[in-house]
């Protein structure tokens, strides 16, 4: 598919580069050049002219005249209707001329031969062949000389393979400069030396035309060589296979040769005395042949492409466009032809630019990777050597080898990230440039100078102006939007997924902010592009803006609370006060942050309730999920407890807990026995503490309690229990019954005391 478009591109280029289409491009240009080509001025005349031009008064006068002409041109702005009428009249005239020319079509060979024989004696004919050979030889000789000095440089360029696209472009440009230098020397040798001689009028026109065609062919060849590089993959700027590039190059050269030499022949026989229509007929034949060649090339490229294409739409459309171009040229609708060419070339050019940009990115990325890989290889090789030297430390070497592998991976993802961000932007930018260039071209065809539009007031100029404004606004908006979107999307895609139970990283905050930013940017761009479009259409947008301002004010007052929520929400996010997944508490509300909207925050209480809190309501909040958690446990033990034993036991439990595969990793500081915290009436309080990651403390606390209790029990340490010793004086003498009663009374008293303490 893409190849056909390249073919179109180059054929279009061909159309614009040949002298025939140079005429075509002139809006409303006359059909053919005037028949009487004035005689070549003698050297004396030229010297005289140069002397006159060097005179400042003459220059001043010329400038004034030119300025006057410019004013005239500006004041004679035609109305739309008038310009259409003018165009139709021109087309009519042209069609009549073409009709007259087509009548001559069957007689063209005889006309050419009779003109040739009548215009020149046989001796002159042969002499001209001699002249042609001599001057072509002079040109070839000078160019050979040039290549003696430039040839090695060119071979260097052609034999060096550059990896980076920018190097490729640089090499191709250097080669273009070199090849153009060769063409310049050739034209110097041919046309340059030819015009030095003083020739009789008309006699040299024939030779000059042919030499000119040759030089033009060289120029076309240099440009085609630059873009296609048919034989050198390393310099090819367009993504074509070798075969396709060669085919396209040959086709372009053949078509341009037909066009150039046909036109040269047409000019020559008019000079030699044939009628003007005869010249036009030859021009038409040449153009028709070129069109047929171009269409053939198109189909050839289509059929020869390796991946078989199902759709024949591209060559059909291409052929149709070429045919229409020819017809437009034939009837003299040059502006229409130019517009058609530009429109037809728009899509393929855009694709070409996109492919080229993609290729450029691809190549530079591949290069970055290969560099990385080679660096890795050298590292690996070095390590291999090390491993051989000390075969004993093999596992170490293997472990080391992994490290650069990871680094490489990282570098690649890095490079990919960069390319991923800039590639869509570059593609959009390329499209932007192509579209703007196309619009400018079309404007030029219709006599509208985009850079000078304020000077013209015609209807098409205004339409073009509005279109350009809207398009530029839209494309710039599109560019900004793509850049933002890709940047944000990639940023979000590169974020690690939130794992339930794990403390979220700092990216979680961006995960909240980025979609918001994206929406804001989109809306802003849409509104701005819309406003610019309206304003360039001539609609006054000031009331709209003012209205929007008033409405904004009213809404702002009404939604003060909402605005406060949004703004304070943004600031909470900037403060990094909480993130999705964190456990926070504010006032008496607590829970895990489940989601954040633009206005409010949703917390999930650990019992399942969901709290929704507007950001504006938040004054201060407590975050339980940051960095670390310290947990302190207390036990009451009797005064006679062996504290050293207890410490040992705790240390043992700590070791066990640290080993635990489930939560052992959550420890930040070990379980420590802190000794006696305080003494109480009947027991002493010993402390145990540990530090964990947030969220990991609960299970550890559970197990710690359990194990400490079990181990203490085993070691014979009993937790102090609340017991009351009632000492009854002279209890030995009491009988059992009285003892029981006393105990019951003491019990009551204690219970009452305890209750009193509890209530009091």
């Amino acid at each position: 598919m893409i190849r056909l478009f390249f073919a179109l591109v180059f054929l279009g280029f061909l159309h614009t580069s040949t002298p025939l289409s140079a005429q075509m491009m002139l809006p409303g240009g006359t059909a053919t050049e005037t028949a009487e080509t004035p005689a070549e001025p003698s050297p004396n005349d030229i010297k005289e002219l140069a002397r006159l031009l060097a005179d400042p008064t003459v220059v001043n006068w010329l400038q004034q005249r030119a300025a006057g002409l410019g004013e005239d041109g500006a004041s004679t702005n035609l109305t739309f209707r008038e310009s259409i009428e003018l165009g139709l009249i021109q087309i009519q005239v042209r069609v009549q001329e073409v009709g007259a020319a087509l009548v001559l079509l069957p007689n063209i060979p005889s006309i050419v031969s009779t003109t040739w024989q009548e215009g020149l004696t046989p001796r002159e004919q042969l002499n001209f062949v001699v002249l042609l050979i001599i001057f072509v030889f002079v040109g070839v000789g000078l160019e050979w000389l040039y290549w003696r000095y430039a040839g090695y440089l060119r071979r260097r360029i052609e034999l060096t393979r550059s990896n980076r696209y920018i190097d490729k472009v640089r090499s191709a440009l250097t080669r273009l400069a070199l090849v153009s230098g060769g063409a310049v020397f050739f034209s110097l040798g041919t046309i340059g030396t030819f015009v030095i001689f003083d020739w009789p009028p008309n006699a040299e026109e024939f030779v000059l035309e042919l030499l000119f065609a040759l030089v033009m062919l060289r120029v076309v060849s240099a440009l085609a060589l630059f873009a296609l590089a048919p034989r050198i993959e390393a310099l090819r700027l367009v993504p074509l296979s070798r075969q396709d590039a060669r085919g396209l190059y040959l086709g372009v050269m053949l078509a341009s040769a037909v066009m150039l030499f046909g036109h040269g022949l047409a000019e020559t026989i008019v000079v030699l005395g044939a009628d003007e229509p005869a010249g036009l007929t030859i021009d038409i034949i040449a153009a028709a042949l070129t069109t047929v060649l171009a269409i053939l090339l198109l189909w050839l490229m289509h059929t020869r492409s390796e991946p078989k294409r199902l759709s024949i739409a591209a060559p059909v459309v291409g052929s149709l466009v070429l045919f229409m171009l020819f017809i437009f040229w034939l009837i003299g609708a040059y502006s229409a032809a130019g517009t058609l060419a530009v429109v037809a070339l728009l899509i393929p050019t855009e694709r070409l630019v996109r492919k080229t940009i993609e290729q450029a990115f691809e190549e530079s990325r591949a290069e970055a990777q290969s560099e990385q890989v080679s660096a890795d290889e050298t590292l690996a090789a070095a390590e291999e050597a090390g491993a051989e030297a000390e075969a004993v430390v093999e596992p170490d070497a293997a472990a080391e080898a992994e490290a650069p592998g990871e680094a490489e991976q990282e570098a690649i993802t890095n490079a990919e990230a960069i390319h991923g961000v800039y590639l869509p932007v570059a593609v959009r930018l390329g499209r932007f440039v192509v579209v703007v260039a196309a619009v400018v071209c079309i404007g030029l065809f219709w006599g509208v100078q985009p850079w000078n539009m304020s000077a013209t007031n015609s209807t098409p100029a205004q339409v073009v102006r509005v279109l350009i404004d809207i398009m530029v606004a839209f494309l710039i908006g599109d560019l900004i939007w793509t850049a933002t979107k890709t940047a944000i999307d990639r940023r979000m895609a590169s974020m690690p997924k939130l794992v339930p139970g794990m403390a979220p990283g700092p990216e979680a905050r961006m995960a909240t902010l980025l979609p918001l930013i994206k929406k804001v940017v989109l809306v802003t761009i849409l509104v701005m592009v819309g406003l610019i479009g309206l304003s360039s259409m001539g609609i006054n947008i000031t009331p709209l803006l003012a209205g929007a301002g008033v409405v904004g004010l009213a809404v702002g007052f009404g939604a003060q609370a909402l605005v406060r929520d949004i703004v304070s929400g943004v600031f909470f996010l900037i403060d990094d006060a909480f993130r999705v997944g964190e456990y926070i508490e504010m006032g008496d509300i607590r829970g895990t942050v489940e989601s954040m909207s633009i206005r409010s925050l949703q917390l999930r209480h650990h019992r399942g309730a969901v709290h929704t809190i507007p950001f504006g309501e938040l004054k201060s909040l407590t975050n339980y999920s940051r960095d670390w958690v310290m947990m302190k446990l207390e036990f009451r033990v009797p005064f006679d407890t062996d504290l050293k034993l207890a410490k040992k036991i705790v240390k043992k439990i700590d070791a066990e807990l640290q080993e635990n595969p489930e939560y052992g990793g959550n420890f930040l500081q070990p379980l420590k026995f802190q000794g006696v915290r305080r003494m109480e009436e009947f027991n002493m309080v010993v402390g145990v503490k540990f530090m964990t990651k947030p969220g990991g403390q609960w299970t550890i606390r559970r197990d710690a309690y359990q194990r400490i209790r079990d181990e203490f029990e085993k070691a014979g340490i009993n937790f102090a229990q609340r017991n009351v010793k009632v000492e009854v004086v002279g209890a030995d003498e009491l009988d059992e019954d009285t003892k029981e009663k006393a105990a019951a009374a003491a019990m009551d008293a204690i219970e009452q005391n305890v209750e009193g303490q509890a209530t009091g």
Binding site: N127, G141, L145, Y152, E158
Partner: protein
């Protein structure tokens, strides 16, 4: 010996051609200036000593050319050499009318040839001979310069004179042709002047009597020449007749090539578009095509005299052969190029003088790409 003879005879012919062309260049001034210049520039070869030397050189050079055609195994392996041979063969038929008119004609009639007459023939009387003559000039000059440059490129002094000698190769024929154009214009402009045209009339009268004889001689020479070339080609075909064994040449940094035997290593490589330095044009003089034979020494014909001489002169190490001379006789050969395919004569000379070798191109195994 043969190559020395060839270059000596070629140089002698070249000196004459330069003199002749410079004479033509004086046509840019006037025709009488041409006559005067011709007396000095072409004089040394138009006396009883110089004339025979020139003629002998011509025949020796032509014979050596045919000799090469006979011994060349492939005539189309290298387009430059093919073109050189074709140009050389074309010189005789192209130049024959000129020789007939300016050497044989005067010898028969006794009329001293003059430039006005020759120019009148080329520009007025027989214009197609003018085309032929211009083509002949170009062919001779290209043939001469190509041969000369091939010879000079491997000389010790070449590096110093290379850059200044190129313009000379262009200026001489260009001025000569422009002189030819200008003098023709002068002639045509003055054709109505009886006094100016007097020498032309005299010569025309003299040639009128011998024209038929000259034509007769010319066509006979052409037939004999064609027969000679046909005989040489036939003899060559007979020499090459016979079964050729298969050979396989592997380049360590390039492709593997399979062909029938009968071609030198260089020709084999070039036939498969493999770039290979060969500065002297496969004449075995320079040694820039040297390869190190890694495997299959026995599958190459032993070095000939030229090769042995060059190897000794360049003091190349053991196991190195010249690709342009070494003939694979059959079987596999593995070789490695000693010099980068892109090496320039100047770099090569520097290398021989022991200066810093240029870095080899990173990709030596490139295919032979378009080269201006």
């Amino acid at each position: 010996m043969i190559s020395r003879l060839r270059i000596i005879s070629g140089l002698l012919l070249f000196v004459f051609v330069i003199g002749h062309l410079l004479t033509l260049a004086f046509g840019l001034y006037s025709i009488s200036a041409m006559e005067t210049a011709g007396r000095f520039l072409m004089g040394p070869f138009s006396n009883p000593i110089g004339g025979p030397i020139l003629i002998v050189s011509f025949f020796v050079h032509a014979a050596l050319g045919l000799w090469t055609v006979y011994w060349r195994n492939s005539l189309f392996s290298n387009w430059a050499d093919t073109a050189q041979a074709a140009l050389g063969l074309a010189i005789v038929p192209l130049l024959l009318p000129h020789i007939m008119g300016t050497v044989v004609g005067p010898a028969m009639t006794g009329v001293h040839t003059n430039f006005k007459w020759v120019l009148a023939v080329y520009w007025m009387f027989v214009p197609h001979l003018g085309i032929q003559q211009v083509v002949a000039l170009i062919v001779i000059w290209v043939h001469a310069c190509y041969g000369l440059f091939l010879w000079m490129q491997v000389q010790k002094w070449w590096g110093r004179y290379a850059t200044i000698s190129y313009p000379f190769a262009v200026i001489v024929p260009v001025t000569a042709l422009l002189g030819f154009v200008e003098s023709g214009k002068i002639l045509i402009a003055n054709r109505g002047d009886p006094e100016f045209m007097a020498p032309v009339r005299e010569a025309a009268a003299a040639y009128g009597t011998v024209g038929a004889t000259l034509n007769n001689i010319q066509s006979q020479v052409l037939w004999w020449y064609a027969a000679l070339i046909a005989a040489v080609l036939l003899a060559r075909a007979v020499r090459l007749w016979g079964k050729r064994p298969k050979i396989t040449v592997t380049y360590t940094d390039g492709p593997t090539i399979e062909r029938t035997a009968g071609f030198s290593l260089l020709e084999t490589a070039q036939s498969m578009d493999t770039a290979h330095a060969a500065l002297c044009g496969a004449r075995g003089r320079c040694g820039s095509c040297a390869v190190r034979v890694l495997e299959g020494h026995e599958n190459l014909a032993p070095p000939g005299k030229t090769e042995a001489e060059t190897i000794a002169r360049r003091s190349l190490p053991e196991g190195v052969r010249l690709a342009c001379q070494a003939m694979p006789t059959g079987g596999p050969v593995t070789v490695e190029r000693l010099f980068a395919p892109t090496i320039s004569p100047v770099e090569y000379q520097e290398l021989l003088r022991g200066e810093d070798p240029p870095a080899r191109d990173p990709e030596p195994g490139l295919e032979r790409e378009e080269i201006a």
